[in-house]
């Protein structure tokens, strides 16, 4: 057990490392977890959450969510808010896969309706949504067009027939963060990314067909308001990000910030926490470049949604909107955003870094589309390919974490260990026995994603509810899956 002796219990689900725990800490570190989840956390969680607490301008606390584990700079599941005038921006607080995120689509189809065609559906999705190492996408752009696309975000998709205005309304930032300036991105980042719009990636990225079961609806009223209205209902969920483009943006600026660290006199407990003052030229350039990557990821998920609609329409010979394929919401995991929050009794604009963590705005928040004003922001938390995923909503109590909650289940076993313990073909067979049809670009990669390599998603989600930072609405069971 890696839990430091200095960790204090604040509540059943909130644990604190005081400022005295490590030299240089400006605020305490707070870990959100049940005692069981806490005991299983690696020492990197405590080390990194307390390192983040040393960064200039940090406000409130350095947070780690219940799915937290060791990451780069920030832990995965980490979140921190900074004073935009005096604080820093750090690529380690966002991650290489900028705006890695989740999108959920509801349908009017029942499991009984899709079951006879499930393998055709999954096979067709596997053919039509590129996955795996070095894959290229189905949207063909020149490099100049790509630069334009990353500034426009999902608005470009709307103009070019890849989505609806409703899709954009039901996406964080309406699918486009303003202030994305392509002059702040490198030629290398463009070269790396311009052929990848419309690709899923690999590793823990996936596209799943899931089903609602009666016993998994926790709040029927909220579920209906979010478009989940009957047992047996089929939904589609997928997880992917900004691909090579976002990865290169992160690498470019990580290197730049390291080179400038001496100039800015920022003491770094970890090179991966390389930062720049938010108001510096480097800081503002990175913020703009990061926004280009956020927008690219929104475009990526929007065109994949379009492809999903096409496939469902082909298989069921009906218009996708007749099939009820409406987006529920799209959430981001890895971003830095300027948001207004209450702190010290005042409303202030803060720069919130979320790294493997999800925004969860409460009911009534001004940034929510009208349809979700009364419900709170939909939050999508993905489990392993064998266990299923959750739809939750943000709640008022989330103000304690700047309206941030968990993003997934987090791993318990390294990829190498998982490959030694599990076999891809055996997993495919076992999952078929459980009624899950899966197509994977790599059997080896699939073994790395075995369900037993991940934390119990139920425990993670229950911890967020117990802590009062999000509320469970419904759990989805996987029946079909494509993986890279």
């Amino acid at each position: 057990m890696a839990v430091p002796r200095a960790l204090k219990k604040i509540t059943e689900t909130v644990w604190e490392l005081p400022i005295s725990y490590k030299s240089g800490m400006l605020v305490p570190a707070r870990i959100y977890a049940t005692e069981e989840l806490l005991a299983a956390m690696d020492e990197g969680v405590f080390e990194q959450t307390s390192n983040v607490a040393t960064l200039p301008g940090i406000q409130g606390y350095s947070f780690c969510m219940p799915d937290g584990h060791w990451g780069y700079g920030f832990p995965i599941g980490g979140a921190a808010a900074f004073d935009p005038k005096k604080g820093v921006i750090s690529p380690g607080g966002i991650g290489f896969d900028v705006n890695c995120g989740m999108r959920l689509i509801r349908t009017d189809l029942s499991y009984e309706e899709i079951q006879p065609k499930l393998s055709i559906l999954v096979d067709r999705l596997f053919e039509r949504v590129p996955t795996g190492v070095g894959s290229t996408g189905f949207v063909h752009l020149s490099q100049d067009e790509f630069r334009h696309v990353v500034e426009q975000g999902a608005r470009w998709c709307l103009k070019h027939g890849y989505g609806t205005a409703e899709d954009l309304r039901r996406t964080e930032e309406n699918g486009c963060v303003n202030g994305a300036d392509s002059s702040t991105i490198s030629a290398k980042a463009v070269e790396r990314g311009y052929k990848q719009i419309g690709t899923l990636g690999s590793g823990n990225h996936y596209l799943e067909i899931q089903v609602v079961r009666e016993e998994n609806i926790f709040d029927r009223t909220l579920a209906e308001a979010l478009g989940i209205s009957f047992p047996g209902q089929v939904v589609v969920m997928f997880h992917c990000g900004s691909r090579g483009f976002g990865h290169q943006v992160a690498t470019d600026y990580l290197k730049l910030f390291l080179a400038k660290a001496e100039k800015h006199r920022i003491a770094l407990p970890d090179r991966e926490l390389a930062s720049a003052p938010f108001q510096s030229k480097e800081g503002q350039d990175y913020f703009s470049a990061m926004k280009c990557a956020i927008n690219m990821s929104f475009v990526n998920r929007q065109v994949i949604l379009h492809r999903i609609r096409e496939v469902f329409s082909e298989v069921f010979h009906r218009d996708p909107f007749d099939l009820g394929l409406h987006q529920v919401y799209d959430v981001s995991h890895n971003t830095a955003k300027l948001e207004k929050h209450e702190i010290g009794g005042k409303t202030r604009e803060l720069l919130i870094h979320r790294k493997g963590a999800t925004r969860a705005f409460p009911p009534g928040h001004s940034e929510l589309p009208d349809i979700y004003h009364s419900t709170g922001q939909p939050v999508i938390i993905g489990g392993s390919m064998e266990t299923g995923s959750y739809l939750l909503t943000g709640v008022e109590g989330g103000s304690q974490t700047f309206f941030t909650t968990a993003h997934g289940s987090g791993r318990t076993m390294s990829r190498r260990q998982a490959k030694k313990q599990f076999q891809g073909k055996a997993l495919i067979h076992d999952m078929a026995q459980k009624g899950i049809y899966i197509r994977a670009a790599s059997l080896s990669g699939l073994a790395e994603e075995a369900g037993k390599a991940y934390k119990n998603i139920d425990s993670v989600v229950q911890a967020t509810e117990k802590a009062g930072i999000s509320r469970r609405v419904v759990r989805f069971i996987p029946v079909g899956n494509i993986k890279g």
């Binding site: 823990n204 690498t251 990829r415 080896s444």
Partner: protein, 143 residues
């Protein structure tokens, strides 16, 4: 084989150490370890595409970092799986210059047993150190 993956080092990603009697050998081994993260069998990569590569950095560590990043760049930008051939590392001015050939071919999912996509080389625990036998690098890749 003078690289080995570290099973318990990185829970969500891939970590390895590579060794070489010389910096050139180290760089070659680290390149292979990076490729081997994505392709099951390096022998499956035919060498029908060659790219000249010249990199400069103020430190040996960041020179290796840049080389491994270059392999990842080509994997995405041109869908190439490349191995490091004939590297030379020289002290030049205030830093070091690497010259090598990157040799390989386009990804072919029919022939290449692909594993997982590498997103980036991280600076987490990233190091190049001298040892009694030569050099050792520790690298964590984000996948």
């Amino acid at each position: 084989m003078t690289y080995q993956y570290l099973d318990d080092f990185s829970i969500a990603d891939v970590a390895f150490t590579a060794e070489g009697k010389s910096l050139e050998e180290l760089f070659q081994e680290a390149g292979d370890a990076t490729m081997n993260t994505m392709v099951e069998n390096l022998g499956e990569i035919r060498e029908n595409t060659k790219k000249r590569c010249t990199l400069f950095s103020r430190s040996i560590e960041m020179l290796l970092f840049d080389l491994l990043q270059e392999l990842i760049f080509y994997k995405d930008a041109e869908q190439l799986l490349l191995r490091v051939k004939n590297p030379t590392v020289e002290k030049t001015g205030e830093g070091f210059t690497l010259r090598c050939t990157l040799s390989g071919e386009r990804i072919d999912s029919e022939r290449h047993t692909l594993i997982v996509d590498v997103k980036a080389v991280t600076l987490s625990h990233f190091s190049v150190e001298e040892t009694a036998k030569g050099y050792r690098a520790t690298v964590v890749l984000d996948v």
